[in-house]
């Protein structure tokens, strides 16, 4: 009697554990395989959620050609990513902004005396998506955008908007404005653009948190996109990929050189025109947000990969170098536009490749 009881008790506990043993045998077909390129090992990275989907696509492609490699990117936010990197938890960090001086000090300790470098890798465009019945195309300039988002312009047929949109019939409806309620790099870059181009019309502090009064807050770019698509006469700022995935319409921006459509190609021109403020292979960028080129979309953001130029463990360093070499390749950058990201192009891409080649 006692024996059967304890036997059943043991089976009950063991069966819950044994399930995992059963499951492991039916491994996913794509989960194992031999290395084709000789690269093996695993790599950990974490940080910016803005580049998560781009990173995931790249990891998939890289793992397909190097089946012995496993790369995991945890999108826990830029700040957490830099901390993970500085605590030697990860081999590189994704970040919406370049390392700050105090972070750079900690990072060089992590790099065992080497320097940590910022490598711009994924660009993004911030689109002003609108939902106004009967309006298919809309042009805004910094002043009107600042007016709408600061609450000074409240009607769609405001003379300032009408002046930019000759031939478009604008309704007399009240503008429903959407912004991010959570802290985000998108808000940071959007307000940086407003403050650089229309400081008089936007009298609020910039930064990752939205502080201007009025409008409705929504969590995440997907929240803003959902708000705009379900609310008539609304406008909101979000990453370009969400405009594409939700089928919204985005306003063209006239930064002084004519109206420019919010497309990946147009945004790439602004990023390519950015100047490097870092030294050596550190490619921290200064984006010219006042760019008045008729084909450069000015509201952009750049996310970086932060890693050690020297000082990573040898095995990690080889993997980081191989992976980043792939992400800076034409194939990898060319694939970005399809998912709504903006590629790095031109001279900047050449510099990026040189910086990656110097990783040792």
């Amino acid at each position: 009697m006692k024996f059967t009881r304890s036997a059943v008790a043991a089976v009950a506990i063991a069966s819950t554990l044994a399930l995992s043993a059963c499951a492991s045998e039916s491994a996913s077909p794509s989960a194992s395989g031999s290395a084709g390129s000789g690269l093996t090992g695993s790599l950990k990275a974490s940080g910016s959620s803005a580049q998560k989907n781009a990173m995931q696509e790249w990891i998939n492609a890289f793992q397909t050609t190097n089946s012995g490699v496993t790369i995991d990117y945890q999108a826990n936010g830029s700040g957490a990513g830099i901390q993970d990197f500085n605590n030697s938890q990860t081999s590189f960090a994704g970040s919406d902004s370049a390392l700050k001086p105090e972070e750079a000090t900690a990072a060089s300790t992590r790099c065992a005396g080497g320097t940590a470098i910022n490598i711009p890798m994924v660009g993004g465009a911030i689109a002003l998506a609108f939902n106004v019945a009967g309006v298919d195309s809309l042009t805004l300039n910094p002043k009107t955008a600042a007016g709408i988002f600061s609450g000074a312009i409240t009607k769609w047929n405001d003379p300032a908007i009408a002046a930019l949109n000759a031939g478009v019939t604008l309704p007399a409806a009240t503008i429903a404005q959407f912004h991010r309620s959570d802290s985000s790099g998108t808000t940071d870059n959007f307000t940086k653009w407003l403050l650089a181009t229309a400081p008089d019309a936007f009298a609020f502090a910039g930064g990752k948190d939205w502080v201007a009064p009025g409008g409705q807050g929504a969590k995440g770019s997907d929240g803003v996109a959902a708000g705009v698509s379900s609310t008539p006469n609304s406008i909101g700022y979000m990453e370009l990929s969400f405009v594409m995935s939700k089928g919204l319409k985005a306003a063209s921006i006239d930064n002084g050189g004519g109206a420019v459509e919010a497309t990946s190609d147009n945004a790439a021109k602004t990023i390519a025109a950015a100047t490097v403020k870092g030294t050596g292979n550190d490619l921290a960028l200064n984006i010219d947000r006042k760019i008045a080129d008729g084909s450069a979309y000015p509201v952009v953001l750049v996310t970086y990969e932060i890693t050690c130029e020297t000082g990573l463990a040898a095995a990690d360093s080889a993997l980081v170098k191989a992976f980043l070499t792939y992400t800076a390749s034409d194939a990898a950058q060319g694939a970005l536009a399809a998912s709504g990201y903006v590629p790095i192009t031109g001279d900047l891409l050449t510099k990026v490749r040189a910086a990656i080649a110097a990783i040792a």
Partner: protein
Amino acid sequence: MSQTLKGDTLPKWAPIASLAIAIGVAIALANTTAVAGTAGTSVLAVLIFIAIQTLWSFAVEGRRHAVDRVATTLIYATFVAAAAPLLSLLFEVFTRGIKVFNLAFLSHSMRNVSPLKPGGGVLHALIGTMQQVGVATLIAVPIGILTALYLVEHARGGRLSKAISFFVDVMTGIPSIVAGLFIYTAWILTLGFDRSGMAAALSLAILMLPVVVRTTEEMLKLVPNDLREASLALGIPKWKTTIRVVLPTAIGGIITGVMLAVARVAGETAPLLLTTFLSQSINNNPFAGPQAAVPTFVWDQLSSSTPASLDRAWAGALTLILLVMFFYGAAKLIARYYAPKA
């Protein structure tokens, strides 16, 4: 005519008729006035229903029956209000999750699956959750049961046992994120271990421990003292009495408690975000390397926020609910099997 013992009563169909009228009036009011939404209309319908029924009952049956009907209605209404969120949640998760929930979803990992495209599955996360919860169980259950044995069998009311009881109570109230932070700072940052399934298991073990101690303690207290005394009177030593008499008597309840503790931690997300490194690939080794888990799988798919990944997140949530239901079901069966036979 002659007087009957029973007073006048409302016909049997009275509540249904009043309810129908109340719903009709509420919908009419919702369409013509500012009462908005399903929730507002429902509340309004209930209030109108109570008013109609009470007045009708008061007129026909008298005060006592009217009060009785009000009380009955309120009790049913609170029951519905309590059950509605749960049913609505289950309904929502099932209808949304069933879309991509199938055998392929349960037998594939997310390795090399694009966030933008459908496909992939939860296998890597399921393996991770099973192993993490399994290791946590192996750590927490022996410690928990031995602690409870000490408290009940050996140290009745001693100073040490009071201190232990106090700290177990405090541990019950620890928010799961704090358990995660503790392991993150102590195990990962201070001792320098990598984030892994093991780190997750440690934080889950902290959450399981007080539940196991508490339930085991209660079960051991239910064992009649006569059994212990009879055993001791036959000259059997105390340790043997504990192992051969006390534990087998209480084993059903103890196992149920363990299963409930397992079900409780299987859905924990917060400590896992800090202690495991999310992975898209299968990792059969909980002691090294990034490992996924079902709750973090849901979180991860949610943060990709593409239509395909949102479908996967719902299916992951469904998987998690089914997993927890499985544990609860197993606990019920075991409890029934070991229930003392009359």
